[in-house]
């Protein structure tokens, strides 16, 4: 894969919990990943961003979406992204605190690439991020990951 052709990807986080937003950002930062993080406070905001023509050049390379959100849930975001040909290629990772089998099955049914149970180890996030194909991350060479 020709990495040079790829633009450094934006990371979109759809999350209504302030604490989780901080934890996510902190995890990215601790991993020395410098990609932009687009934070949407709920599903509605995320959809507004994704379907806004003005943001066409700033589409995320990967979306992390919390399942349980008021109004528009993570599943809704996932469905709309996968239902739009222009956005369908964006990998979506579902975040949840639940371990319900049903949620996992639904996530994969709707086309999520991964499913992450929020744990006390935010490093898991980074493993997913780095494993996502076709994404370019800006990593500070001089810093090593700490955990």
């Amino acid at each position: 894969m020709d990495i040079g052709k790829l633009r450094p990807a934006h990371i979109m986080l759809v999350e209504d919990s302030e604490g989780d937003i901080y934890i996510f950002k902190r995890a990215i930062k601790d991993a020395k990943i410098l990609n932009d993080v687009i934070v949407c406070r709920d599903g509605k905001e995320a959809l507004a961003y994704l379907f806004d023509e003005k943001n066409r050049d700033k589409m995320p390379g990967i979306i992390f979406a919390d399942i349980n959100m008021p109004m528009v849930s993570g599943f809704e975001v996932l469905k709309r992204v996968k239902g739009d040909p222009r956005l369908a290629a964006i990998p979506v990772v579902m975040l949840t605190i639940s371990q319900e089998e049903e949620d996992i099955i639904r996530s994969y049914d709707y086309g999520a690439v991964s499913f992450i149970t929020k744990t006390v180890r935010p490093e898991n996030l980074l493993d997913i991020v780095s494993a996502s194909p076709g994404l370019q991350f800006i990593v500070c060479e001089d810093s090593s990951r700490q955990g």
Partner: protein, 688 residues
């Protein structure tokens, strides 16, 4: 006869009886004395001697002629010559005794020897006279003695019959069904006493009369009528003759006597009841002067005894009647007796009061209803005399009070088919009031019950709310604690190396982490417990072998790591909530592995079946439990203080118990410290 009706107590004032024999106007028969001798001179002499003694004397020179007369007239005394050419005296006597056993025999002889006398006595001769006769007085004395003897013998015999009959009559009632038998027996005995072949009897039964003629003759209608008319007249009931039933009873089939047109000897005998003549007999004989005075006397005396017995029966009945009337008077129910013509025959005081307030129309309805029932159908199987009844409740308003009466009308068939109706009024006002009070109480009780049910369901709702609150709380509180935990990690990282931190800050950080751990575990416990309560899964027939295998899969790593041996015996299929049952085995297997310090841990899972109940057993060779903790271990959030570093929620067995109890079963433990534990749970048989 009429005066009998005025007597108040017949036992204290005996009904005058016609025991005065002469007042009967009957011509009596004299004692018969027959003399048989072939010498007419002797006959003349002897009849001359006893003339004036009052005997009916007849003389015979021909012994054969004498024999047939003896057979016919049965004389009291027979004098016969011992020496007669045609028929010697002793032989005549033998033959005469056969036809007239009661006759007393005297022989006449010219040659008296001891041998002759002895032989004569052997033949049953009573006395003897020697020719020539010593004196007329001697002859008279001999005859008189013989007659006396004969009378005494007859009297004794009759007395015995009479006594026996009286005893028998005392036992037979002259009331009801046995009435005819009573009077008929008395009539038969009368005819025997009087040695008469015919007796006419009339018994009173209610307003009717029952007539009966018993005879050895074939009677002409005129003769029968003569007898019955006489009996009826004596009874003072001549007018009733046309209504009575005449029954003629011929006691002999071989009737030789000619039809009798007129009876010349008649003895009327009455049996008195409390209200006059109850039975009248006429004993009849076609010949004039056929009855002896002493026999008639005895017949009258017998009738007197029968009268006393009958009166005693009637008296008893009267007492009984009075008792019933008294009872009816004091009864709380009103009683009215109405006859077939709707004439009121009896009313007790209570009924009189009630009749004053009950509308007549209501009663007519009841009476009509009872009359509309076909007695022949209704009476089937009913006790004797009792036919059928109709019941109705009547409400009446008296002086502003509402009264309720149960009106019951009975139709009663007497043996003579006269129907009575008995109306019974029962005041049920009190019962009605009581009933409505009970109904009111019932309504109150129902309301209370409803309130209780409401409260119970409200309580249940609150319980459910609490459960779901616990679930939501435990669920939602996980987030903040997770955040705190991560934030502490970040904080530690931001503060730099732990060694460089001041002791107190390090301590505080450690305390935060430790407390977060405790809180998280508690939340997890709470969550599991509330989930067990909340979740209801369908009961299905489940293979427990498969279920247990699935559970053991989860522990395969631990089993391998500990080098444990797990044995699963044959397990039956059970209808259960499979998801929860997995939880049960999960917890039991988890404990069996967790609390096991043996070098070669062993777990055995088995089941036994008994009368549809299945008992499962999870056995281990672990550390065991002390008996005082057998119950304690199943309580929520309890863990036995244990020195080892075994981690547990302290909730596993509580969850197990909750699930087993939800299945209608029970769980218990058998254990020995240091040897191992057996966790057993019983599940009842349950349809799919």
């Amino acid at each position: 006869m009429r005066d009998a009706r005025t007597t108040t107590d017949p036992l204290l004032n005996p009904t005058p009886m016609r025991e005065d024999v002469d007042a009967l106007g009957v011509s009596f028969r004299s004692a018969r004395v027959f003399i048989v001798d072939d010498e007419a001179a002797v006959l003349d002499l002897l009849s001359g001697y006893i003339e004036g003694e009052g005997y009916d004397v007849r003389t015979f020179t021909d012994p054969l002629q004498a024999l047939s007369a003896i057979a016919k007239y049965r004389p009291e005394v027979v004098l016969a010559d011992l020496q007669m050419p045609v028929l010697p005296g002793l032989e005549l006597m033998t033959r005469a005794a056969a036809v007239s056993p009661d006759s007393c025999f005297i022989i006449i002889t010219a040659f008296t020897t001891v041998d002759t006398l002895i032989e004569a006595i052997r033949f049953g001769v009573h006395d003897y006279l020697t020719k020539p006769f010593s004196s007329p007085d001697a002859v008279r004395l001999v005859v008189r003695n013989a007659h006396k003897k004969r009378s005494l013998e007859t009297l004794n015999r009759m007395q015995a019959t009479v006594t026996g009959t009286i005893l028998k009559l005392s036992e037979v009632s002259c009331l009801g069904d046995t009435r005819d038998a009573f009077f008929s027996l008395a009539g038969r005995v009368l005819s025997r006493i009087l040695e008469a072949p015919t007796v006419a009897s009339v018994y009173r039964s209610g307003k009717d009369y029952s007539c009966h003629v018993s005879t050895e003759y074939l009677l002409s209608n005129a003769a029968t009528d003569q007898l019955l008319a006489m009996a009826m007249n004596s009874m003072g009931a001549a007018g009733a003759f046309a209504r009575c039933n005449v029954a003629q009873e011929l006691s002999r089939e071989d009737i030789t006597a000619p039809t009798v047109h007129e009876f010349k000897s008649l003895v009327p005998v009455a049996v008195m009841g409390l209200e006059g003549v109850e039975a009248q007999y006429v004993v009849a004989h076609p010949e004039a002067g056929a009855f002896r005075r002493d026999a008639v006397k005895m017949a009258l005396s017998f009738a007197r005894s029968v009268t006393l017995i009958a009166q005693r029966h009637f008296m008893g009945a009267t007492h009984e009647h009075q008792m019933i009337v008294d009872l009816l008077h004091h009864l709380r129910d009103g009683v009215v007796v109405v006859d077939k013509d709707y004439a009121v025959r009896f009313v007790n005081p209570q009924a009189r009061k009630i009749l004053g307030v009950i509308p007549e129309a209501e009663l007519s309805v009841c009476l009509d209803a009872v009359d509309s029932i076909d007695p022949s159908l209704a009476g089937r199987g009913a006790p004797s005399g009792f036919s059928h009844s109709v019941q109705k409740q009547v409400a009446v308003r008296v002086e502003g009070h509402e009264l309720f009466f149960d009106v019951q009308v009975y139709a009663i068939q007497t043996p003579t088919k006269v129907a009575y109706r008995v109306i019974i009024f029962r005041d049920v006002t009190h019962l009605r009031r009581e009933r409505s009070r009970i109904e009111a109480l019932n309504v109150e009780l129902k309301n209370l019950n409803r309130e209780l049910t409401d409260r119970a369901s409200r309580l249940e709702a609150v319980n459910k709310e609490l459960d779901s609150f616990a679930y939501i709380a435990s669920h939602d509180l996980q987030e903040p604690f997770r955040h705190i935990e991560i934030f502490v990690q970040f904080l530690e990282r931001d503060l730099g190396l732990r060694q460089s931190l001041p002791d107190d800050i390090l301590y505080l950080l450690q305390q935060i982490s430790k407390n977060v751990d405790v809180a998280k575990r508690l939340l997890s416990d709470l969550r599991t417990l509330s989930r067990v309560t909340r979740m209801r899964n369908p009961y299905r027939r489940t293979s427990m072998v498969d279920l247990v295998e699935e559970v053991l899969q989860r522990f395969s790593d631990t089993v391998q790591q500990k080098g444990a041996r797990v044995v699963v015996e044959e397990l039956p299929e059970v209808v259960c909530d499979a998801i929860k049952m997995k939880e049960v085995f999960h917890n039991l297997v988890s404990n069996a592995l967790k609390y096991n310090e043996s070098e070669s841990p062993r777990i055995a899972i088995s089941a036994t079946q008994d009368k549809g109940e299945v008992t499962f057993c999870v056995e281990d060779n672990g550390i065991g439990i002390e008996p005082e903790y057998f119950e304690y271990v199943f309580q929520a959030c309890r863990r036995i203080p244990h020195k080892g570093e075994v981690q547990g929620s302290g909730l596993g067995l509580a969850i197990v118990r909750k699930i087993i109890e939800e299945h209608g079963g029970r769980v218990w433990v058998e254990s020995e410290v240091g040897k191992g534990s057996r966790f057993l749970f019983m599940l009842p048989n349950r349809p799919e």
